[in-house]
């Protein structure tokens, strides 16, 4: 039975409805496709809607359900960020360079989801190649924040966060290199998880910065993020950075007691936040204390180098990774008398301005004479930051902080100011530099009704603990509906 409120249902509830035959997988897919048809024109969170494939996948899922061959995500309608390769479905990275690129293979996570009957509704909008934090720079147009139309949704996974917040899918798969899952999730008032580096196979993820990139979920709750992480974690011989083969049970600590847990609160991250953000995060600290946790201040002196280290390392890796786009084997092709001229023209016309800036910055910090001054110092700073966070997490079970020091900025504020735009990543890059898992969940609203994100950073491969702690907070927190729909 299809109800009007299905878009608010958790993945667990949708599972029950499917298993009890109150709704069929094709009916559920149709329901979300219908919502997409009504709202995607305004929000622009999907670049490609895969209606026919989604219905075919839903019919296959229903056959699995009828045969009793069911995983939690069988028949569940999901969206996929447009930098994750999907065989036979356009994968554009939000860029003109790949506007007509159709992969000939599936990313490992897509193969697994297909095998077990997830329903892929479409590919979500993003800043080109994951480089950006506004989701206003896509070749396919800007994404609107469903919470407030005058605010940016954040990026680079702005399409994924917006479609979850607007109920245009039951969950989303995205990627996070410097905060690309957590920042838009916080701005759109939903839950997002960057797993530990090496947890999710990245084969088929179009690379931005290989030592930082990680695939993760965005969903309506921490429990749903856990279900999605279960769905995409698997050992993959095609990704040599996989560290934890066959680890399942990420929802195992949802509902568990928090008594005796020790939480570290980095004072510097609180002090620099806007007053409304500080107040909401301090309320969350009180919640955890009431639940029996001990909260202690922690110091992270290396943090002041994090932003520089991130931009140096990510840009250097991007300059290398994006050298494959030459307009010959794939990608948009420019004009030129010689092969080199043609490649220059292909890349000059195909890449968006931010992509060019990062490639140039990457080659600058790797140039002779600057490598020692920038790149080597950045890798050393990264090692210090990682060590400081790991030391803090030896004494504490997890770290608690604001996801960002502010709520979603007005459209136009960050887009025209490169320095502010880069500085906006200062909080989220810590988890990427250290490889540690971090989850964001809404913990309050500012005076304009904009959601405030609470970040919990855990020990390596201990996603279950931070998801459990986030779920405990969510259980007593009332979320507001996305108002701009």
């Amino acid at each position: 039975m299809v109800g009007e409120e299905l878009f608010r249902a958790s993945i667990g509830k949708l599972r029950r409805l499917l298993d009890q035959r109150e709704i069929s997988a094709p009916e559920l897919a149709e329901y979300f496709l219908d919502r997409m048809q009504r709202h995607n024109g305004t929000l622009n969170c999907y670049i490609t809607v895969t209606e026919e494939q989604a219905m075919e996948m839903a019919r296959r899922a229903q056959r699995k359900i009828d045969q009793g061959d069911v995983r939690i995500w069988t028949g569940i309608p999901l969206s996929v960020k447009d930098n994750i390769s999907t065989k036979g479905i356009k994968t554009t990275c939000g860029s003109r360079m790949l506007e007509s690129y159709v992969p000939v293979y599936d990313a490992t996570i897509i193969s697994k989801l297909r095998r077990y009957g997830a329903v892929l509704l479409g590919k979500t909008n993003m800043d080109p190649f994951g480089m950006g934090n506004t989701c206003r720079t896509s070749h396919f147009g800007p994404v609107q924040n469903p919470v407030s139309s005058g605010r940016i949704p954040g990026g680079s996974s702005g399409g994924a966060a917006a479609c979850v917040a607007a109920g245009l899918c039951a969950g989303a798969l995205a990627s996070d290199t410097g905060g690309s899952i957590r920042q838009p999730a916080a701005f759109c008032g939903v839950t997002g998880l960057k797993p530990t580096y090496g947890t999710v196979p990245r084969y088929g993820l179009i690379a931005f910065a290989s030592s930082l990139d990680q695939i993760g979920p965005i969903a309506a709750s921490a429990e749903d993020c856990g279900y999605l992480l279960d769905a995409i974690t698997d050992y993959d011989p095609n990704d040599s950075t996989m560290r934890q083969p066959n680890c399942y049970g990420y929802t195992g600590k949802v509902g568990a007691s928090l008594k005796g847990i020790k939480i570290g609160v980095p004072a510097v991250l609180l002090e620099k936040a806007e007053p409304a953000v500080q107040a909401a995060v301090l309320d969350a600290v009180e919640f955890y204390k009431d639940a029996g946790c001990e909260c202690v201040p922690v110091s992270l002196p290396g943090r002041s180098y994090a932003l520089s280290a991130y931009y140096i390392i990510s840009s250097a890796e991007a300059a290398s990774n994006l050298s494959r786009f030459d307009g010959i084997r794939f990608g948009s092709r420019g004009e030129g008398e010689t092969c080199t001229e043609q490649m220059k023209s292909s890349r000059g016309n195909g890449f968006e301005p931010e992509v060019k800036r990062r490639i140039l910055l990457g080659n600058y910090v790797l140039s002779a004479g600057y490598r020692e001054e920038y790149y080597q110092k950045a890798t050393a700073a990264r090692n210090r930051i990682k060590a400081e966070l790991e030391n803090a997490l030896q004494a504490c079970d997890f770290l608690l902080s604001p996801t960002l020091p502010f709520t979603a900025p007005r459209v136009g504020v960050l887009e025209g100011d490169l320095i502010r735009r880069y500085e906006a990543d200062a909080y989220t890059v810590l988890a990427n530099l250290s490889g540690l898992p971090a989850v964001t969940t809404p913990c309050g609203y500012d005076g304009d009704g904009l959601p405030i994100g609470l970040s919990l950073t855990g020990r390596a491969f201990d996603e279950a603990s931070i998801l459990g702690a986030a779920a405990a907070f969510e259980a007593q927190f009332t979320r507001r509906e996305a108002a701009a729909l």
């Binding site: 159709v102 000939v104 580096y197 290989s210 030592s211 011989p237 095609n238 040599s240 950075t241 996989m242 560290r243 002041s304 180098y305 520089s308 280290a309 931009y311 140096i312 840009s315 050298s323 010959i328 084997r329 794939f330 990608g331 092709r333 030129g336 010689t338 092969c339 001229e341 043609q342 490649m343 220059k344 023209s345 890349r347 000059g348 890449f351 301005p353 060019k356 800036r357 490639i359 140039l360 910055l361 080659n363 600058y364 910090v365 140039s367 920038y374 110092k377 950045a378 890798t379 050393a380 700073a381 990264r382 090692n383 210090r384 990682k386 490169l418 320095i419 880069y422 500085e423 490889g435």
Partner: protein, 92 residues
């Protein structure tokens, strides 16, 4: 701070052609970006070990050939092809 000649060298290294107006804008942006990352120059790197962050799995794939793409699949996204090959302008 990078100057115009540095930018032009970087554009060569990056295999990018841009218009003159874009070149001027990119120079300003590159200078701003370098300002953001210059904080790292104060980092006392001699106290720390630099090195690769990524550790690869101990159990790497066997080094042998696997079935790969057909020529049709491999050429499917190319702008210009002929006789199962990618087409490029004359090199010589």
């Amino acid at each position: 701070m990078p100057e115009m000649k540095d930018l032009q060298r970087l554009l060569e290294l990056s295999v990018l052609s841009v218009s003159q107006e874009e070149e001027a804008a990119l120079l300003l942006d590159l200078q701003r970006a370098v300002r953001v990352v210059s904080r790292i120059r104060d980092f006392p790197a001699e106290m720390e070990a630099a090195g690769a962050f990524v550790q690869t799995a101990d159990d790497l794939r066997a080094d042998r050939a696997y079935p790969s793409l057909s020529p049709e699949e491999a050429l499917g996204n190319a702008a210009d092809t002929a006789c199962d090959c990618f087409c490029v302008p004359k090199m010589l």
